[in-house]
Symmetry: C2
Subunit: 331 residues, 2 copies
């Protein structure tokens, strides 16, 4: 897996492809891990999100047990359902929002920080106008309702956070959120490049290399590569496969005259179109794939190889290698 582009060292900490940036911490084991993180030498400031008073109670109880002279403190945001119907309190459920707020405030180790309202379901609505309209009616309206519920009891929110690579501009302009949390933009993928946002908005910066393992069966019609469902996540569509030509492939989705079909866990089958005329793929050739969906693809790999274009423009230089320490199921 290769990463290219400028300022590569700035990507790691901000990219949700590599970390879990907005997850609930529920259950004894996870709460214990969270609290032990607070004891880390670097004394991190951590905010968690919650959507139930029970979870607030469980986190606070563990924190109090582990805390020596109240040295451990957590910020807490209330998660609001922005329309994805995943986690989050219903934004019209004023009673529950206020109950959770009061629960947070009742514990010495916890500080209420604000609201988390994210619409993962809207990130890939292709039309920007339609996407904006849905974000306004969804996460922005929901966050506003929740904010107003708390304002009625005199409580203001320091942070109202949300937005992803597909919608962050709308949350930023919406007048309710004051923090955005996009992550995929740093690497990009085929699914995001298919949003009608202009091809050059963000360049692709992460590629999975694959090589041709077979041209035996119907040469000229299909070519088999060694990347299947263990190498690229196929849940949001197939990867875009290109040659290694370093002067193309950084923006948008590229049509090289062949399309990828899954050939099982360890194989991909490139179906050739008539445009392939004159182009030959040979056994052993290395090709470059822009993954369909970046997050679960990064999750399957152990290393990122960071490269920069050689000044001559003819080759890449390996700048660094990063172990993907954050990979794993998150369960």
């Amino acid at each position: 897996m290769a990463v290219s582009g400028g300022k590569v060292t700035q990507i790691y900490v901000c990219c949700s492809c590599l970390s879990t940036s907005h997850l609930e911490v529920v259950g004894k084991k996870k709460i214990a891990r969270l609290v032990s993180l607070l004891r880390h030498a670097s004394k991190p400031k951590i905010d968690v999100i919650v959507d139930s008073a029970l979870n607030v109670h469980n986190i606070a109880s563990h924190l109090e047990r582990e805390s020596e002279s109240n040295d451990l403190a957590l910020g807490v945001l209330i998660e609001i359902n922005g329309g994805q119907n995943r986690c989050g309190v219903e934004s019209r459920n004023e009673e529950s929002i206020v109950e959770i707020y009061r629960s947070i405030e009742s514990y010495a180790g916890l500080t209420f920080r604000g609201l988390h309202c994210y619409g993962g379901n809207l990130q890939h609505v292709r039309s920007p106008a339609e996407r904006q309209s849905l974000v306004m009616a969804g996460p922005i309206a929901a966050a506003e309702r929740a904010r107003n519920s708390l304002a009625k009891i005199g409580v203001s929110c320091d942070i109202i956070t949300g937005g992803g690579t597909g919608t962050f501009q709308f949350e930023a302009d919406g007048g309710v959120h004051n923090e955005i949390q996009p992550g995929s933009y740093a690497f990009m993928d085929v699914d995001y490049s298919l949003n009608d946002d202009g091809k050059d908005r963000f360049e692709n910066a992460l590629f999975v290399h694959t090589s041709v393992v077979s041209t035996a069966s119907s040469p000229g019609e299909r070519t088999v590569v060694d990347a299947g469902s263990k190498a690229v996540s196929l849940d949001c569509g197939p990867p875009c496969v290109t040659r290694l030509d370093i002067n193309q492939g950084l923006s948008g989705s590229i049509d090289e005259g062949f399309t990828y079909e899954c050939g099982g866990d360890e194989h991909g089958i490139l179906i050739h179109s008539s445009d392939m005329c004159g182009k030959v793929l040979n056994e052993g050739d290395t090709l470059r794939m822009i993954p369909g969906h970046i997050d679960p693809t990064v999750n399957m790999h152990d290393w990122l190889i960071c490269v920069r274009k050689h000044p001559s423009g003819k080759d890449f230089i390996v700048e660094d290698t990063w172990r993907i320490r954050g990979r794993g199921p998150g369960i």
Copy 2:
């Protein structure tokens, strides 16, 4: 990820979920790795599969360069396209089959071992009768044609290998194959359990545990768990989610009154049916998932926790933990 059942220590070496049992070795780097494996202290006997004379030449050349007094030897099988249109020589291409055979025989370090003809595309045809008919017309007929092509020049095949968990019985009874290579049967998954082979043919022996992280949004209608596309592969359908009740869930697919929908990379959403009446899922509850597709699911995890039922029947005992060393993209 928990594995249960008897004789757990016998699974590891035979399970293709954990290793790559029938892959082509193409390209300089992979060939170098293959040859270095031959130098391993345990002196493994290794067979590779090929579908081109070029690959035979590349493997043999590397072997000759690395070999001291011809101490390195490889067995080679010719891969035949059994109808999946992935890798493999066309079974009617007698000229190519004979050319590859002669190429293998021309190198001192290589020994022709036979044919590999596998139909991955047929493993999940639901009706056993239809599946058998397709296996006979596909991999069995193709292997027979290739065998006959070689017989014409006086060559016999020591090994004709193929068959997976869905079809191995048909290859075993087909009169052409003399080796089968099923792997998924050791763990099973939802997709295989949906074949009409009888619920009790193989028990499920691998489960991914997940826990309830949210019941805030529409309690009674949906429940959110902490397992998304980074925890279970969704390419062959959703996992089957059950309670931890140890007296059920080992055979077939179980309807607990809720169905799993992907909620993104780190979430699953359990949609409740009316049969849920009276059953309550609480924040923090641990649930058990039978993955939809076992191979790419194992690939996402680092450890298998091997458990055995306690004699009392009321709990599990951890027998062993296995690191999943074979995981990775295979590219």
